[in-house]
């Protein structure tokens, strides 16, 4: 690697960090506006121009608030819990391809790194995110946080299996674990068509992985207050918010990449890079909107329903889906 390549990688990483920090600010605001409208109220409309600076003001305020550590808490683990949540959420962004290769003097791929284990890396980072939740819930020495962490760990590891099974069938069609190869293989046909069942499995597992409604049992407000982050305040509380919303965006981007052809779409010759980014952003935003609307539309599941839905319904479907895809592929060739 020469100096220019180092510079390019560094610039990509800084851009990813800026998007990672900026997008949740906008998304929280949009969510509060959407929920407000859907619940016949106005939502934030005071700070800034009709509420546009609300989340920025909230973040600033959290920065100057006292950080409480409950008595009997495991201080070190309590301190580092949110760190373990944010790090994998940001690291997973390294493999997301937002566009094709563009030629600006030299070929630059619109992704930070093309790992040959791509999608496995994403699944690994998803698993690491559970550690942050369990660490912060366990170390708080609060019963609500404890239950929230237990629920979150059981739920996330269960639905991770479903996600893994759905991804297996995609790899069957693509023949590679690299996300760039997976997108390139969808030039003829987006994988949502042959893998519609897998797509549904992945979306359901994705909603469960991010602990969003209707799978938000780890932080069910009406039962266990706020779940694993009930004892957190100040800047550490803000980290939970950033991680949650960054994970929503990440999952939407991965769904787009795996099933909706990533950056592929109609393009103007010579402008593939720009149209690619626009297509990728449009598809991703559609799934983010789905996350927001789900929150307004659906009630929360019961915990036993949540677990039996995963183990008794989605699990057999996922396994049969992989075998069917394998059989179909053999019949084709």
């Amino acid at each position: 690697m020469d100096g220019w390549e180092w510079l390019i990688v560094a610039i990509k990483c800084v851009v990813i960090l800026l998007i990672f920090l900026g997008a949740p600010l906008i998304l929280v605001l949009v969510e509060r506006w959407t929920l407000g409208r859907l619940q016949s109220r106005i939502g934030p409309n005071r700070v800034g121009w009709s509420g546009t600076l609300q989340t920025a003001a909230d973040g600033l305020k959290l920065g100057i608030k006292e950080d409480l550590i409950p008595r009997g808490a495991d201080k070190l683990v309590f301190w580092f819990g949110p760190v373990f949540l944010v790090v994998p959420a940001l690291a997973a962004w390294a493999i997301v391809p937002v566009g094709p290769k563009v030629g600006l003097g030299r070929d630059i791929g619109l992704w930070a790194v093309d790992l040959n284990v791509g999608i496995l890396f994403f699944l690994a980072m998803g698993s690491l995110g559970v550690y942050g939740v369990v660490m912060s819930g366990w170390s708080s020495n609060s019963k609500y946080a404890h239950f929230g962490a237990l629920r979150a760990s059981a739920q996330v590891i269960s639905y991770e299996l479903i996600m893994g099974l759905a991804v297996l069938a995609v790899i069957l069609y693509a023949g590679s674990l690299s996300l760039i190869d997976i997108v390139e293989q969808q030039r003829g046909l987006w994988f949502i068509v042959p893998q519609f069942v897998g797509f549904l499995l992945f979306v359901i597992a994705g909603v469960a992985e991010t602990n969003r409604v209707p799978f938000d049992l780890p932080e069910a407000e009406s039962e266990i207050v706020a779940g694993f982050h009930v004892e957190y305040s100040g800047m550490r509380f803000a980290m939970f918010f950033i991680a949650e919303y960054a994970n929503i965006i990440l999952i939407s981007a991965i769904i787009t990449t795996l099933y909706l052809g990533g950056w592929l779409g109609w393009t103007i010759p010579g402008m593939e890079g720009l149209t690619g980014i626009v297509w990728f952003a449009l598809k991703t935003v559609a799934f983010i909107a789905m996350f927001l609307l789900l929150r307004a539309a659906l009630p929360r599941l019961r915990y036993d329903q949540l677990m039996s839905f995963c183990w008794k319904f989605l699990m057999p479907i996922g396994i049969i889906n992989v075998l069917l895809a394998a059989g179909l592929r053999m019949a084709w060739s």
Binding site: I64, V87, V113, S142, I157, M235
Partner: protein, 120 residues
């Protein structure tokens, strides 16, 4: 490996941002110790008993089931990559059927034993 450098940079940036923002805002924060503030939240009542006691055994069972099925999944990943790139697909397919069949027996056993039920 040079290709992993972006991942390393991103992890470093994330650590820098989180730990930096915790440490950086320390000077801005008020710090007033209070015995009541230090209590864990329990609906406004003084906390009763210890948090880290016994809890539902179901959580352990889910963890064990996850281990079994996740190892199975980890075995299937190399299989899937080979399957879509090699020619002897029939052999590989039957192999996977046998593997998943053995796992299926375990799955049915766990189901019949009630390990997948949350209620007793």
């Amino acid at each position: 490996m040079p290709s992993w450098i972006a991942v390393v940079i991103l992890i470093a940036l994330a650590l820098l941002f989180t730990i930096g923002s915790f440490v950086g805002t320390m000077a801005l924060k008020p710090r007033r110790k209070d015995p009541v503030k230090g209590e864990a939240y329990e609906s406004g009542m003084p906390p009763i008993g210890d948090t880290r006691g016994r809890h539902n055994v179901r959580f352990y069972i889910v963890a064990m089931l996850f281990l079994i099925f996740d190892v199975e999944l980890a075995f299937l990943y190399p299989w899937v990559v080979l399957y879509s790139n090699l020619d002897e697909q029939l052999f590989l397919f039957i192999e996977a059927l046998v593997f998943i069949g053995i796992l299926g027996v375990g799955y049915v056993y766990a189901w019949r034993k009630g390990a997948l039920d949350w209620k007793n």
